[in-house]
């Protein structure tokens, strides 16, 4: 459903991505591994329209999206949950969720999404009227993911969902990721926590210095000598 073709991305004069190409199929979890500064977040930000490639193309469901501003990409039902989560700390949990579906006119669908989200994250229902700034780290991550889900996205992109979470919350988060895929959402996840990511993912890509150096099923990647040595520490 998503195919990225030879994109080159620059931060002003510094090239961050070099001819990056990869695909995401419907209903799969694709993980992107790489160390700090390898270009993982850059990739997601480019897909979300916060950055634009200087060359190459990005096709989502037969539509070229590489030149679109991010609010339009969001309306094509691609959601990005950035590193550290995107939420508004001065607003209540409910207001945050409501804004997750900003611009969608169908109120019935919004209420439906909200019910669905409360089922996955019951704690958000309990804390609906609280300010987002009063939530714990794990709850904030849930809120950020829930916000991304309010539009029932076809593609959900998660940037370091385990970042800054306690170990128990990390496995909880990945359990949720799996649950979401089983409910029909396609997921592209960028992660430094390679072990967890490879355990839930279907396919994976390895990003080094802005280039994709490896792409395979997660099972094969787990067996790969290089990945085991450099990313799993085995």
């Amino acid at each position: 459903m998503l195919s990225v073709n030879n994109i080159n991305v620059f931060y002003r004069k510094i090239q961050a991505l070099w001819a990056v190409s990869f695909d995401v199929m419907q209903r799969e979890i694709v993980v992107m591994l790489g160390s700090n500064g390898a270009g993982k977040s850059t990739t997601l930000n480019t897909l979300a329209g916060l950055l634009h490639p200087s060359s190459g193309s990005i096709r989502f469901l037969c539509q070229e999206i590489q030149e679109m501003p991010s609010f339009k990409i969001v309306s094509l039902s691609i959601s990005l949950v950035p590193e550290g989560g995107a939420f508004f700390s001065k607003m209540t949990v409910n207001e945050n969720l409501e804004l997750g579906a900003y611009g969608r006119k169908d109120r019935g669908k919004n209420i439906e999404s909200l019910k669905w989200i409360y089922e996955i994250f019951p704690v958000l229902k309990l804390k609906g009227k609280k300010l987002a700034s009063t939530l714990s780290g794990g709850e904030r991550q849930m809120l950020a993911i829930a916000r991304g889900l309010m539009r029932r996205p076809k593609l959900l992109m998660l940037d370091e969902p385990s970042y800054g979470l306690a170990p128990l919350m990390v496995s909880q988060t990945f359990k949720t990721v799996k649950q979401l895929r089983d409910l029909g959402t396609t997921i592209l996840v960028v992660e430094q926590n390679s072990k967890h990511a490879l355990a839930v993912g279907d396919r994976g890509y390895l990003l080094e210095n802005g280039k994709i150096v490896l792409g395979d099923t997660c099972e094969n990647l787990r067996q790969n000598e290089y990945v085991r040595k450099c990313y799993l520490g085995l």
Partner: protein, 293 residues
């Protein structure tokens, strides 16, 4: 007691005007990051527009204010879209945008002010509307001042409800807190910031219309209002809309009190408050301390 009430109510009337202007500037600077030094000029334009409507066409000033609100909102939106959005996309950093947009608004200030000087000259103008006196809480006031107070407070309350409960109001608060997160929520941030700038211009024009009912107006009346609005902005906290309105009322009350005892010192008093707030609570007096998590 009577004197006390007199000072309080005069202060509130003046303060409501300051509050409207400061809330407008807060939307422009606190949310859209445009330090619009031409803000006071829109107060002047609103005042003159209302003046002309009344003296030439005999149209009720309050009706003019209602009519000019959407007009000035659209005008402000177009100014943002054609000037400041262009500067925003060509500026590489947020700091650069703040500097460049302030310089551009200086240009706007001179253009508007000089056009006004060419058109109206330096003479002061005034008209009389609702100038009979009414008893208000046992003190006699000119009816136009009481009307201005009520309109000012009504505008602020409806504005607060708009920001608090409407989806566009929520989008504005979201864009104020984090433009990137707002974009990722599907909010067209440029449009929302344009609306914020337009609302700022609208509030300045509304305030100007109300001022013209009570006071003499001149082509260079705008700048002192800008200065007061900046003081109020610091007092109430950047991005804090309620704080700006309350800050406006406080400055109005202080000015009215000092005005009574020592008229020469009223501006000094405002600056004194400004300096003290900057020294003690630079984040503004109405900003709640958040625990640094």
């Amino acid at each position: 007691m009577k004197l006390f009430l007199d000072i309080i109510i005069s202060g509130l009337i003046q303060g409501a005007i300051y509050g409207l202007i400061a809330v407008g500037l807060n939307l422009q600077y606190g949310v859209a990051r445009v330090l619009n030094v031409a803000h006071g000029e829109f107060v002047m334009v609103g005042a003159f527009a209302t003046y002309i409507m009344y003296t030439v066409f005999g149209i009720n000033p309050l009706l003019s204010v209602a009519f000019f609100s959407p007009v000035s909102l659209i005008a402000g939106f177009l100014i943002y879209k054609n000037l400041f959005q262009f500067i925003r996309t060509s500026s590489e950093t947020a700091e650069m945008f703040e500097g460049n947009s302030m310089l551009a608004s200086f240009g706007l200030l001179y253009v508007i002010q000089n056009l006004a000087l060419i058109w109206w000259g330096t003479s002061t103008k005034a008209y009389s509307y609702l100038s009979f006196s009414v008893g208000f809480l046992g003190v006699a006031f000119e009816a136009n001042r009481v009307a201005a107070l009520f309109v000012g407070v009504a505008v602020m309350i409806s504005f607060y409800l708009f920001l608090r409960y409407s989806i566009l109001g929520k989008a504005i608060r979201a864009a104020a807190e984090s433009p990137v997160s707002a974009q990722l929520s599907g909010i067209d941030v440029h449009r929302v910031l344009g609306i914020c700038f337009g609302l700022g211009v609208m509030l300045a024009c509304v305030a100007g219309g109300l001022v013209s009912m009570m006071k003499e107006i001149t082509a260079n009346m705008g700048f002192p209002y800008l200065v007061t609005a900046l003081i109020v902005l610091v007092l109430g906290g950047l991005g804090n809309i309620v704080g700006s309105f309350l800050g406006g009322l406080i400055i109005g009350l202080v000015t009215a009190a000092v005005m009574y005892w020592q008229p020469e010192l009223s501006l000094v008093a405002s600056y004194l408050i400004f300096t003290i707030v900057l020294l003690i609570r630079p984040q503004g007096i109405f900003v709640r301390q958040t625990n640094g998590r």
